[in-house]
Each structure stands twice: as C-alpha cells, then as structure tokens.
C-alpha cells in the first residue's frame, strides 16, 4: 500500500498562553513524504506546535497548510492529520479491534469495510491475532503498534508523533524506531515527530528542527545540525561540545589563555568569541606546534573510545575522545598535554 505524501507548511506560527509566548513565529516547510523531528528541551514549544498542527489548539497567529489547503479553521478530523500520543491514549474499554476501527466507525464506514481495514492495519503493524485483546493486556510496544494502526486506519495525510518512544524501555525503543521508519517509508506519509531525545531525532528524521524558547534555531539535515550548528544553543544541545572562550586572530586562529588554536575557516565574528569543539575533533599533539596546554583530570575508557576530561589554565574543562586504536598514546590523570584540532574538523564560532 502506498499513498502520495503531501507537503505541510507552517507559516509564521505564534502561540501565546496568556502572556507567555509558547511558539514564536515558526515557519517550516515539510516536504511530501519527509520525516521531520522537532527537537528541543521541555518547554521549548515543540508539543504546542504539534498540537496546533493536529488542530487540538488554535494558534494565536500564522497559518497551517496541509498540501495546498489552509486548515486553520478545520476541526482536527477534517485536517487529514493523525496523531499518536505519547501515552498512546488507547481507549481502555475497547478491544484492539474496537480501537483500530474507531475512526472508521466515526466516519460511518460500513461494517464489512471496517473489518477489512482493521485486519489490514493490524497486519501492517504486525499485530494480527490480537484483535480481541484489551489495551491493558498488551506490552508498551504492542500498545504503540495499535496506536499507530488506529491513527493510520483513517488514512491521514500527515502523521504526527508526540514523543513516540518516550514510554518504551531502551531495547524496545530501537525496535519501534525501526518499525516506525519502515511504516513511514512504506506509506510515504509526511511525518512530524516531537522529541527531546537528540539521538532519536538524528537517527530517524530526514531533517531536524531544533527549537528553543518557542523559536526554531535551526532546521537542517542531521549531519548539518551536528557539524554546522547555527547557534551556540544548537551546538551544545545536540551532541557534546566543549566551549572555548577567546578572541580571533587575523589568521583565523583562536587565542585564549591556554594558547593558540588554528581553526582554519575564513569568515568570523570579530572580538570575543566562543568556539564549540566536539570531543572527537581534538587530538593530542606532541610538544611542538600550536595548541592548547592542558592537564588531564579524568580518564574514562569506554571500550573502543577513551574519554578524557582535561582542564585548561583558566579552569575551563574540555572533553576529548580518542579512539583506542593500536599504537594510540594513552595519558594518565595529571599528565600535561597539548591539544590540537584534527585536520579539517568543523569548529563553529559564535560571538561571545
């Protein structure tokens, strides 16, 4: 089964709760069949935005369009948006069959067509044979499959997932992530997923919108978000980054208390800056050459990687990860080392 994905456009969406601005002028265009993650800390407005798209909340300003249709004035069921809630919100007093068929019954679909559709949906989420069970007789992962089937049964044009894997334990989470990705690809359905888990966002989404304080700080592909964060917030929220404060020399090197670090790229803000360096972009240099002087504080061997906590003369701590390949030099706490950057490592620099 496949259906044509539609685009979803958010145009300058703003939402206020009383005097609090929960969503502040968000504009996004989700391409047909694309899966986009809204990523951000709790209270950043991502769930509010999702509820606005679903039609459960009316935005204070801006427009939502599904395909070419502005849906602002449409009730939830006429928008063609299906939502899977964080806690799945299965009807506890109805069987699996009753839950999955609910939307079709509400549409007045004939009995026989409902039964066929329910069977097809349960096959799609691999839950055949569970028709007569009640939600409480299912595991978390099974409940999620049923919730997905119930949402997909009414053929929504857009699928909305609210913290879809938050309630699952770690092993199950990966299984369900693969499952959701499979379904999403199979149906080619435009999907928005809300999450505060960056790994989930980076691994599942085609593009990620990183949100903070009601705004989208960056909307880009996962690798771009990671390598070229648009703001200091994105740099620190997604992945790990050590922050180096200093000034930029005309040759593009960062000068700070602990030394000079050539960064390599041209356009820079002048004056005081903050550079965000990924732990895997540092390497230990031999005594000569430019670099930062630091002292090893803590060594954490993590299988194939070693994580070092090092401290600079001004007390700044940095994280350094190096792979523990053959012949790699290892350091012990208390060692004085010189840190350099791996060649070609992208280091974003922001005005301090």
């Amino acid at each position: 089964m496949s259906r044509q994905g539609v685009a979803l456009t958010l145009d300058a969406i703003t939402h206020r709760f009383g005097h609090t601005v929960a969503v502040n002028g968000v504009s996004l265009r989700v391409e047909p069949g694309e899966i986009v993650a809204l990523l951000g800390p709790s209270g950043c407005g991502k769930t509010t935005l999702l509820r606005i798209v679903a039609g459960l909340l009316r935005q204070s300003d801006g427009h939502v369009a599904v395909g070419d249709d502005i849906v602002d004035d449409l009730p939830p069921n006429e928008r063609g948006a299906g939502i899977v809630f964080q806690n799945y919100a299965l009807f506890p007093h109805m069987t699996v069959e009753g839950n999955v068929g609910y939307g079709l019954r509400a549409q007045g679909t004939p009995r026989k067509a409902i039964a066929e559709s329910v069977a097809r949906m349960l096959a799609l989420v691999r839950m055949e044979g569970f028709e007569r069970r009640l939600p409480r007789q299912l595991s978390g992962g099974q409940q999620q499959r049923v919730a997905l089937a119930r949402t997909l049964a009414v053929s929504p044009r857009v699928l909305l997932l609210d913290e879809p894997f938050g309630a699952l334990d770690k092993n199950l989470r990966l299984d369900m992530q693969i499952e959701v990705k499979r379904l999403q690809r199979e149906l080619d359905i435009t999907t928005i997923m809300v999450t505060h888990d960056q790994e989930e966002a980076l691994s599942l989404a085609d593009r990620v919108a990183v949100m903070n304080h009601g705004r989208v700080e960056q909307f880009a592909r996962p690798d771009e978000i990671y390598d070229r964060p648009a703001s200091l917030f994105v740099a620190t929220f997604v992945g790990t980054a050590s922050l180096l404060r200093g000034t930029l020399a005309p040759d593009g090197a960062l000068e700070c208390v602990a030394g000079r670090l050539p960064l390599g790229v041209a356009t820079r803000p002048a004056g005081a800056v903050v550079a965000a360096v990924r732990p895997e972009h540092f390497r230990f240099a031999d005594g000569a050459g430019a670099g930062l002087d630091a002292k090893v504080e803590l060594v954490l061997p993590l299988g194939p990687l070693v994580v070092y906590d090092v401290v600079l003369a001004d007390g700044t701590t940095l994280k350094v990860t190096v792979s523990r390949g053959a012949g790699a030099v290892s350091h012990a706490p208390g060692d004085v080392v010189r840190l350099a950057l791996a060649p070609g490592a992208p280091v974003p620099v922001f005005p301090a």
Binding site: A54, L56, N77, A89, P92, H93, G103, A106, T151
Partner: protein, 280 residues
C-alpha cells in the same frame, strides 16, 4: 504483642461504636420483627407474611423504590452534565462551581426540605410567579405530589451524585477525548463512546448513594409528600409511633433494608465490571 494485634487495636473504637450504635440496634430490630404480637410474647414470621401478602403494603414498597429510582434518574440527568461542566471550565470557575455543588451538604436536610415547601407551596414562589405573570388563575397543586417528592429528593441528594462523577471524569486522560476528536468522532460520539463508559464507575457510585439516600429520606418524603404519599420510612414511623405496632414496623424496616441491600449488591457487581474495564 504482634503487629497485627496492635493494628487491630486501632480499629477498636470504630468497631465498638458500630457494634453499640449500628449492629446492636439492627439486631434488636431483627429480633423484634419476628414477634407476632405487639407485646412481644410470641415469636414467628407472621409480620413478614402479613407484609408480603398484603397488596397495600407491597404497593408502599413499590412506590418507595420507584420514587427512589425516579429521584436517582433526575439527579443523574442534572448531576452528570453539571459534573461534566465542572471538569471543562477554568480553575476559577471550578472553585465557584464546587462551592455551589457542596453548599447543600453544608445545610441540614430539614432546611433544604423546608426551602422546597416554600418554593412549591400554594403561596410559594412558583405559584406567585405564575400568577403574577398571568399564566394561572388559582394556585397549582405542586406540593404534596409524587413529582414534588422526586424533584426535592433529587436536588437534596445531588451532591452525592455530582462528587463521584467529577472524580471519575477528572481521572479520564484528556488525550482520550483528543484522540477521539482527531479520529473523526464528534462531541456526542465522544461523550457516549469514550467519556460516559469511562466514567461509569463514578456514575454508578453516585446513583447508589442517591438511591439509598432517597428511599430512606424520611424528612423530605414526609414534608414534601405531606402524608398524602405513603412511603416506607413514613409507614415505619406510623406503625411504630402511632399504631404502637413495633414488630410490624421492625419488619417493614428489615424489608426496606433487604430491598436496598439487594440493589446495592447488584450495582456493585456491575460497577466492579466497569471498573475492571477502566482501570485494568
């Protein structure tokens, strides 16, 4: 001393209270009901036979249970929407509404009953208003009718319906309603297929409380019914105090108790099933 024994001591005051003031009188009542004569000399089940074989007596029982049922239905019809409204209005309105809902509980049943007498009387508010507006020539007979008793009972017992229903409604995950709407169900379908079934335990508890309260509400039944309606509580009073026939009054009491208990057990069974569905 073992822990269990220590814990038991905590129950002792209440157990003692119940023994002395509930179980003992009830037992005594049971014993008295099995005497055949008013001077309590000969034992036998004649009082029960007399009650159950007499059409008048059975009509009184039927009337009582019927009025209780009607009062429960009226309380449900008013109370459920009220409870529903409570759960959807903003917090400030909730506080005000809660005061209105529990206010009747803070005044005595006698006061509330007299209020109804004032409202429904020949010179009461309803009659005066209708007369002033020119709708009626003489006063309508509102008081001392079965409808008046039903309405008064329903209003007086209303908090007992509303409070458990509010609790049940507040326990329903709002996302269930949202899910229902997003799936295409309108307000009514959502109400009947999601909200109502999931609030059934609270609804049944409320019905039970109102029903048990209504069938035994001596003051309201008597004052609003005005002695025109013979109902079980008043029948007991009449037989015991006026006719001095304690054994028969005791038998009437035991029969009413049995009838109400039977309904309580029945509804409890039903509510256990709905609770299993709701809470799993």
């Amino acid at each position: 001393m073992t822990r269990a024994l220590r814990d038991w001591q905590l129950v002792l005051p209440l157990a003692l209270f119940f023994t002395v003031f509930v179980f003992a009188p009830l037992g005594l009542l049971g014993v008295v009901s099995f005497y055949t004569d008013t001077t309590l000399t000969k034992a036998g089940p004649t009082q029960y036979v007399k009650f159950l074989t007499d059409g008048f007596n059975m009509a009184v029982l039927g009337q009582t249970l019927w009025l209780g049922l009607l009062a429960t239905l009226v309380a449900l019809a008013i109370g459920y929407p009220l409870a529903y409204i409570y759960t959807v209005v903003p917090a400030a309105a909730q506080r005000a509404l809660m005061l209105v809902i529990v206010l009747p509980l803070l005044t005595s049943a006698v006061v509330r009953t007299f209020a109804w007498v004032v409202i429904l009387g020949r010179q009461g508010i309803v009659n005066s208003a209708l007369a002033a507006l020119g709708f009626i020539d003489g006063p309508l007979r509102l008081l001392y009718t079965p409808s008046a008793v039903v309405i008064a009972l329903a209003q007086i017992q209303l908090p007992l319906m509303v409070l458990p229903v509010i609790t049940a409604l507040a326990n329903i995950d709002p996302n269930l309603r949202h899910a229902s709407h997003v799936l295409g169900a309108g307000r009514w379908r959502t109400l009947f297929e999601v909200t109502l079934p999931l609030s059934a335990p609270g609804l049944l508890a409320g019905c039970l409380l109102v029903y048990a309260g209504s069938v035994s509400a001596f003051v309201t039944q008597t004052l609003v019914g005005g002695g025109q309606l013979m109902l079980m509580p008043q029948y007991m009073y009449q037989q015991a105090i006026q006719a001095n026939n304690y054994p028969f009054a005791a038998a009437v009491a035991m029969i009413l108790l049995a009838a109400v208990l039977a309904i309580v057990v029945l509804v409890n069974l039903l509510s256990r099933r709905t609770q299993a569905l709701v809470h799993g």
